[in-house]
């Protein structure tokens, strides 16, 4: 399945959001959104992704 994660195309074998994050190698304090909608941490294990889904993985960053 091909998804767009943080603007880059990834070909992943995992199906749930949680598993995709592990497959790509993310760790730590993160927030996720799929197709523009927030997906809470507790829902990542059950959130099944589809081909061409747009996933955003955000982390704390400097800000003003």
């Amino acid at each position: 399945m091909k998804i767009v994660l943080n603007g880059e195309v990834h070909d992943v074998s995992a199906r749930t959001l949680d598993a995709v994050l592990v497959e790509i190698g993310f760790d730590g304090l993160l927030a996720t959104a799929v197709n523009g909608d927030f997906v809470p941490q507790l829902e990542r294990k059950t959130r099944v992704l589809k081909d061409h889904d747009r996933v955003e993985v955000l982390a704390p960053m400097q800000g003003g």
Partner: protein
Amino acid sequence: MKSFYGVSLANPLMLGTAQYPSPAVLAEAFKASGASVATVSLRREGRQGQGQSFWSLIKKLNIWVLPNTAGCHTVREAVTTAQMAREVFGTDWIKLELIGHTDSLQPDVFQLVEAAKLLCSEGFKVFPYTTEDLVVGERLLQAGCEVLMPWGAPIGSARGLSNEYGLRAMRAEFPDVPLVIDAGIGRPSHVSQAMELGYDAVLMNTAVARAGNPVAMARAMALAAKAGRLSYESGAMEPRDMAEASTPVIGKAFL
């Protein structure tokens, strides 16, 4: 001092965390300023986990964290970013920024009010980055905001308080609302000016981070805030058009 959603801040400075020469300078500048609040953001995480080390640094400051929705141009973007920030930073506080103009980074106050309504209904404690427009301020309060953050000048411009008249009017219109000057600060004198107008706090980033010596500038900003507040509480005299001698005329020698 007024409280911010029930929180009394020991120091009226809110300081951004971007653009410092190094993490060590950031930490030292925060210590020197005594700032009570650090603004932070959310951005795409890299594979190296850069965001994790930044967050460790901020946690060690042991101060209030105010996440922002910087760079958002639509209500949907801002609301989703706020929801993500609440989970990551573990706070209902959100600095709501909805940018409407590319060059001036002026807030889109129409979308701002709409987003504020949605976020307040979801339990967020919204700190809206707005203009000094009194009607917009009233709408934001009606939406559920308990703090207003008018801009001093465009973000990063260092121009100070562009519309002192408008900001003074805002203070007079909302005497019981915590007001924060957000953006446009360049020098400690701007901070003093804001505090002398009776503002409750000042939020800045670039003026400290981009100073030749950010740590010393952070200290200067803190002193300016203290001086400005003390001046406001002390009742400064009104300016006059004409001179009035301070030395008594009576008793002057006839020479």
